[in-house]
C-alpha cells in the first residue's frame, strides 16, 4: 500500500508492505539506519523514534499506521553537520560508549525536555525507563540531560540544590 508521511522535515510517498514495521521501513526501505533494532519486542527502546510528537518503539508500529504522520529519527537531530544540543551534551559527559542505545536515548531525551524543560533526576529516570543501556552509562546520560537543561555546568557540578 502507499503511505504519505513526513520524516525529519522531508515529505515521503512510498509503497510499503502491509506487514512491515515502521522500523523496517525506516532502515531497509529508506536507509535511515540510525534507528536500531534491539529486542524487536518493545523492551529495549533502541528503535525509539518520535511519532507525531510522542516517542514510540518503531518495532511495534506498522509502517502503514504511520500514514499521514510526522516522524523524527536520530538523523533529524544534527543540522548541517552540527550536532544538536543533546548530542553535544552526551559527547561532553561521555554518555555514549558503544552507541547502540544512543539514537533512542537521544530521542527520548528530546521528547522529555520538550514536555518538561527542567526535569528532576527522578523525572529523567522515568522518562528514560524504556531505553536500556548495557554499557552501564546511565549516570553519564543523566548528567548530560541535567547539563542540556541548564541544571549542572559542563564539568558536572550541580548549579542548584
Amino acid at each position: 500500500m502507499k503511505i504519505k508521511l513526513t520524516i525529519n522535515g522531508a515529505a515521503y510517498e512510498k509503497d510499503v508492505a502491509e506487514n512491515s514495521t515502521l522500523l523496517r521501513f525506516l532502515r531497509e526501505d529508506l536507509g535511515l539506519t540510525g534507528t536500531k533494532e534491539g529486542c524487536g519486542a518493545g523492551e529495549c527502546g533502541a528503535c525509539t523514534v518520535i511519532l507525531d510528537g510522542r516517542t514510540v518503539n518503531a518495532c511495534m508500529v506498522l509502517a502503514a499506521e504511520a500514514d499521514g504522520a510526522t516522524v523524527k529519527t536520530i538523523e533529524g537531530e544534527a543540522r548541517n553537520g552540527k550536532l544538536s544540543d543533546i548530542q553535544e551534551a552526551f559527547d561532553r559527559h561521555h554518555a555514549v560508549q558503544c552507541g547502540f542505545c544512543s539514537s533512542g536515548m537521544v530521542l527520548s531525551v528530546r521528547e522529555l525536555i520538550e514536555r518538561n524543560p527542567r526535569p528532576s533526576v527522578g523525572e529523567i529516570k522515568e522518562g528514560l525507563e524504556g531505553n536500556f543501556c548495557r554499557c552501564t552509562g546511565y549516570t553519564q546520560i543523566i548528567e548530560a540531560v541535567l547539563d542540556v537543561t541548564g541544571q549542572i555546568d559542563r564539568k558536572g557540578e550541580m548549579t542548584h540544590a
Binding site: 502491509e18 523492551e43 508500529v61 506498522l62 502503514a64 499506521e65 525507563e129
Partner: protein, 272 residues
C-alpha cells in the same frame, strides 16, 4: 514480520463494524499494537487481517459525562489518560495503575481498552477498573451491549467479546470519582515489567474493594468488605478469592505472601 496479512484501517464506526461482521473470526483488532505485533512476530497468533481501530473517527481519547462519568474510548492511550489532570484528581487508583504499566514509550502507544480486551491475568488497568465498578460497552453491526467487569473476563486471554464485536468504550462511573485508592505491583525490574502480582485497593462509601492481577486465570475482584473490617479479614477474603500458580516469575507461595503484604500496606495507606 514473518507472513503477509491484510491491513485495514476503517475511518468510521460503520466501516469497522462491517469489516468485523465480514471477517471477524480471521481478524485481529490493532489498537496500541504493543501485544499484537509482538505476538504476530513470535508466531503466537496468525490473523489473516489486522484491523487498525485508531483511525476510526470518534474513537479518540476520553470524554466526561455528568451522569455516566469518565468514558474511555478504544483509541485512548495509557498516557492520554495520565495526561488528563481530572483523571489524576478524580480517579487516583486508575492513574496509579496506568502509571505502573510498562515503559513510557509503551504507554504512549498502548491503550486502556487493549490492555483490558487482551484479558491477560496481569492486566494493570483491569485491577483498577474492577474496583471502580467500570462497565465495558461492546458494539457490533448488531448493536451495543454493556457488560460489568468481573463478568467481562472468561479466562486467560478470553473475554465475552464475540468475533464480530469490539470493546468500544469503558465507562467509569461518576459515583466512584474522588474515591481514594492505590496500586502495588511487584516486579523483577522496577519501572518495566509484567506484574509478579498486583493489588489495587479502593475505598468508597464505607466499602473496601480489591482488584488483584497475576493471581488467577483472570484479574480478580474482591468486594463486599467494609472499612471497619479488620485487616486480617480483608487479607483472608483476598487469599480466598485468588488462585495463584507457580511459574517462571515466582512461586505460588510468594504470590500469596505478597498479596497479604500489599493488602495490609494499602489498607494502612488508604485508611490512615
Amino acid at each position: 514480520m514473518i507472513y503477509n496479512f491484510k491491513y485495514l484501517a476503517p475511518g468510521t464506526r460503520g466501516e469497522l463494524h462491517a469489516m468485523l461482521a465480514d471477517r471477524g473470526p480471521a481478524a485481529a483488532l490493532l489498537s496500541g499494537g504493543t501485544d499484537l505485533l509482538v505476538n504476530i512476530r513470535n508466531g503466537v497468533v496468525r490473523p489473516e487481517c489486522v484491523i487498525n481501530v485508531k483511525k476510526v473517527k470518534g474513537f479518540e481519547g476520553i470524554t466526561w459525562s455528568a451522569e455516566e462519568g469518565l468514558i474511555i474510548r478504544a483509541g485512548c492511550t495509557i498516557n492520554d489518560l495520565l495526561r488528563d489532570a481530572r483523571v489524576r484528581a478524580d480517579y487516583p487508583l486508575l492513574a496509579a495503575c496506568a502509571h505502573d504499566l510498562a515503559s513510557y514509550q509503551i504507554r504512549n502507544r498502548a491503550t486502556v481498552v487493549g490492555n483490558v480486551a487482551n484479558a491477560s491475568p496481569c492486566s494493570d488497568m483491569a485491577a483498577a477498573l474492577l474496583c471502580l465498578k467500570a462497565r465495558a460497552v461492546i458494539s457490533s453491526s448488531r448493536g451495543e451491549r454493556e457488560v460489568a467487569f468481573p463478568a467481562f473476563f472468561k479466562g486467560v486471554k478470553k473475554t465475552v467479546i464475540l468475533p464480530d464485536e469490539i470493546l468500544e468504550r469503558i465507562i467509569v462511573p461518576a459515583s466512584s470519582a474522588g474515591a481514594p485508592g492505590d496500586y502495588r505491583k511487584l516486579k523483577r525490574i522496577s519501572g518495566h515489567d509484567l506484574a509478579i502480582v498486583g493489588v489495587a485497593l479502593l475505598k468508597q462509601d464505607g466499602e473496601i474493594r480489591l482488584g488483584i492481577s497475576s493471581a488467577a486465570p483472570t484479574p480478580v475482584y474482591v468486594g463486599g468488605l467494609k472499612t471497619s473490617d479488620p485487616a486480617d479479614l480483608v487479607v483472608a477474603a483476598a487469599l480466598e478469592a485468588v488462585h495463584p500458580i507457580s511459574d517462571v516469575r515466582c512461586t505460588r507461595e510468594y504470590r500469596e505472601h505478597m498479596i497479604q503484604v500489599y493488602v495490609r500496606r494499602l489498607l494502612e495507606e488508604v485508611q490512615g
